[in-house]
């Protein structure tokens, strides 16, 4: 299983070689990503999981290790899928820096999920920050430069908190290995533990797009091109969902319950998740820029997923994982199509996109399917996740009921704006002018194929049930499962 490092090394080698490649860069990038995707699927289907891989021959906790569990490899598969889609929808990016940065991002996103060492995690998260900043800044116009520098400043400030947290962890526990920390977390003084949790959470919440930490999100999505949006959502966002599962529900979890060790902080996170859902859906309601609408909705979905994770019972966790998959698929459909629509009309405003659905009915219907899935309408993948999360939250305290009410209220708002936008595509075009550019068939095919998957999962959730249950069971006993992989026999 040591060969799993190829998921990191091959893209990085590709990143260096991209300095010399000129026109071949895109093809090389696609080949590398296809390799990582196929490789990760092979790992997921092999029966060797879960396993811990020591790098450089030094065993954990002394060396750095990678931990491969069904959960992490499942996320890797999703991340690489998003990566390959983002490459297919590239429109006009030619310079080698783009591909080089992209390959680094791919390696870093894979690394974030696989790593079993908290400092290594910090480096990988810094790498994603830099890579995504470079990708956002790539168009180098006013909008993208402003978005990039603001994101960079915010992310650096936040990651310095993460670094302090890691320092405190090392000072108190004398180790940097996640499994080691998880098994020793009970030794800590409660207040010290709280300090550590606050510091580390600050670092990761910026990438998780949670409310008071997420001022960068709409700007970044708005400034990025369509393929960068898919990367931001599909790679960074998916990795973010994994981080929550790993850091909060494994490293800082009560052994065997899937709950955060500090109930007060768990409540504070739930408050933050609820704020995120509320603020983002309300903010999206009157927004005219389509990409920003999707960015807000991304934040809202992330809030919902974290709400599900923090409830922590089996039902809610299942729901959260369904939601991860559904959100992943549906939002990629929307981003891919949004890129096409913006290129066709030359406008960011969804009110100017009349008549697209009449010209390209498949694209229009796919957009509708994506938005219905995000709304959580039955027959679409998002419904089962939402149902299970709400059902799970019911068993919580009155606090959770507030969350449910917020989810239901925002569902109304979300439904209104999504269907309003979807319907705009089917309006008659006022002027008879041709569209600026033609829609590219392969983008529409990608969107339609994903839409079919969303529909299939929605009609028959059993399709992904085994995978979701595998993940849920892992998280329910996360600490002992995880520590057992790295240090057999410690629990």
């Amino acid at each position: 299983m040591n060969s799993v490092l190829f998921l990191i090394v091959i893209p990085l080698l590709g990143a260096f070689l991209a300095l010399f490649g000129k026109k071949a860069n895109r093809i090389v990038a696609i080949l590398i990503t296809a390799f990582t995707e196929i490789f990760s699927i092979m790992i997921y289907l092999s029966d060797k999981l879960p396993v811990s891989v020591a790098i450089g021959g030094w065993q954990a906790p002394y060396g750095i290790n990678f931990v491969l569990t069904p959960l992490s490899v499942g996320f890797i598969v999703l991340i690489n899928l998003a990566a390959i889609i983002s490459l297919f929808i590239i429109r006009g990016e030619k310079e080698y820096q783009f591909y080089s940065t992209y390959l680094v991002l791919l390696a870093a996103a894979n690394g974030i999920v696989l790593t079993g060492d908290i400092f290594n995690f910090y480096i990988f998260s810094e790498l994603t920050t830099f890579a995504i900043t470079a990708l956002i800044a790539y168009p180098r116009n006013r909008r993208s430069t402003g978005a990039a520098i603001k994101y960079l400043i915010l992310a650096s400030t936040a990651s310095s908190f993460l670094l302090i947290g890691i320092g405190v962890v090392y000072k108190t526990l004398g180790t940097l290995n996640i499994a080691d920390i998880a098994s020793k977390i009970d030794l800590l003084n409660p207040l010290t533990l709280e300090l550590i949790i606050v510091l580390i959470l600050t670092g990761i919440f910026v990438e998780l797009e949670l409310f008071p930490f997420n001022m960068w999100v709409p700007k970044a999505y708005f400034a990025g091109t369509a393929s960068v949006n898919v990367m931001l959502h599909g790679m960074l966002g998916t990795a973010g969902a994994y981080i929550i599962a790993r850091i909060l529900l494994t490293m800082f979890a009560v052994n065997g319950s899937g709950m955060l060790v500090n109930a007060n902080i768990a409540n504070a996170i739930i408050v933050i998740a609820m704020l995120t859902i509320f603020v983002s859906e309300i903010a999206a309601f009157n927004e005219k820029k389509l990409k920003k609408v999707l960015a807000f909705s991304s934040m809202g979905q992330m809030g919902l997923i974290i709400f599900g994770f923090m409830i922590g019972n089996e039902q809610a966790l299942t729901g959260a994982f369904y939601m991860v998959v559904a959100n992943f698929l549906a939002k990629i459909i929307l981003f891919v199509l949004t890129g096409e629509f913006i290129a066709m009309t030359g406008s960011d405003n969804w009110e100017d996109m009349k008549g697209i659905g009449r010209k390209h009915p498949v694209a229009g219907v796919s957009f509708v399917i994506g938005s219905l899935s995000l709304m959580g309408v039955p027959f679409f993948a998002g419904f089962w996740g939402k149902l299970a999360v709400i059902q799970g939250a019911m068993s919580g305290n009155s606090f959770m009921i507030t969350g449910i009410v917020i989810i239901l209220i925002t569902a109304v708002v979300e439904g209104v704006y999504f269907l309003k936008i979807s319907h705009t595509f089917f309006l008659k075009k006022e002027d008879e002018k041709e569209f600026n550019a033609k829609a590219r068939i392969h983008s529409i095919v990608i969107a339609a194929a994903l839409a079919v998957i969303v529909l299939a999962i929605g009609v028959h959730p059993g399709l992904i049930e085994n995978n979701v249950n595998r993940a849920t069971n892992e998280i329910l006993n996360s600490t002992s499962n995880y520590v057992d992989v790295v240090f057999p026999g410690r629990y």
């Binding site: 040591n2 490092l5 090394v9 990085l12 080698l13 990143a15 260096f16 300095l19 010399f20 020591a54 790098i55 450089g56 021959g57 030094w58 065993q59 906790p61 002394y62 060396g63 750095i64 006009g92 990016e93 030619k94 310079e95 820096q97 080089s100 940065t101 680094v104 390696a107 690394g111 400092f119 290594n120 480096i123 790498l127 830099f130 890579a131 900043t133 470079a134 800044a137 790539y138 168009p139 180098r140 116009n141 430069t145 990039a148 405190v168 000072k171 108190t172 526990l173 004398g174 180790t175 290995n177 800590l188 003084n189 409660p190 207040l191 010290t192 533990l193 709280e194 300090l195 606050v198």
Partner: protein, 253 residues
């Protein structure tokens, strides 16, 4: 109005810092049981203990000055950076790579004339550069036995180039630097991959190390540090060139 706003911001900042300070204070003075932020875990339980004793692989092994060890670098920090946690270091190289590349991507390309340097600087520059390059070279070669290592060495070497740039000397071309950068980076990761094919593990120190304290010891560490130094030097020097270099702008606006 504007002053009011910034005053409010200052007050908010101080309020936040006060909350944070109070929190840290209460954590530091907490009387509960358990390991506090002011304590350290028992020394033997810390990973550093095994690093210092160089017995990560075999708990009972001991080593002698001038003898063999699992990692024969005399500088323990180096042995951590370039052996036990080599993966981190190679990623750090990537961090520098991507940020410098991002820098080259975003910086506006304008031809800027460097002011004529003074006679003194112009003539003494080669001497200065040679001296700095020598210091840098010493550092990455001796990184495993004395303080220093690839990163500061690379930084110092790049300062030499900077001096050259400021003095208006043509030293190396930008494309050469890019080639050095890419070749060094590729080599680092090729060596890492070579470890997989030779010993079955990536980033493994597969060269038989010498004795602790020798110049030719610590296996791959000097080689890696050399590569790192060249890569860092090339990247950082690239930054200085970018500041003054014109060129075409690909505008994708």
């Amino acid at each position: 109005m504007k002053n009011d706003k910034s005053l409010l911001l200052n007050i908010l900042a101080i309020a936040f810092l006060a909350v944070l300070a109070y929190f840290i204070y209460s954590v530091a003075t907490s009387n509960d049981i358990g390991i506090k932020v002011t304590d350290n875990n028992v020394v033997e339980n810390r990973v550093a203990y095994r690093y210092l004793n160089k017995n990560v692989l075999d708990e009972n092994s001991k080593y002698e000055w001038g003898g063999k060890a699992e990692d024969s670098a005399a500088n323990v920090v180096t042995s951590i950076v370039a052996d036990y946690r080599l993966f981190d270091t190679s990623l750090e190289v990537i961090v520098l790579f991507i940020t410098v590349m991002g820098f080259g991507l975003v910086i506006p390309k304008e031809n800027i004339k460097i002011k004529e340097s003074t006679e003194l600087l112009y003539h003494w520059t080669p001497l200065l550069m040679t001296y700095m390059l020598l210091v840098g070279g010493y550092m990455f070669i001796n990184g495993h036995i004395s303080p220093g290592g690839g990163f500061p060495a690379g930084a110092i070497m790049s300062t030499a180039i900077l001096v050259g740039v400021l003095a208006g000397k043509q030293t190396v071309s930008h494309t050469t630097l890019k080639k050095i950068e890419a070749i060094a980076g590729t080599l680092i990761f090729s060596i890492a991959t070579l470890g997989f094919f030779l010993k079955g593990s990536f980033f493994i120190n597969f060269l038989e190390g010498g004795n602790v304290g020798d110049l030719f010891s610590a296996g791959l560490i000097p080689i890696l540090y050399t590569l790192v130094a060249f890569k860092v030097a090339a990247e950082l020097s690239g930054i200085y060139f970018e500041f003054y270099e014109g060129g075409e702008e690909h505008d994708n606006v």
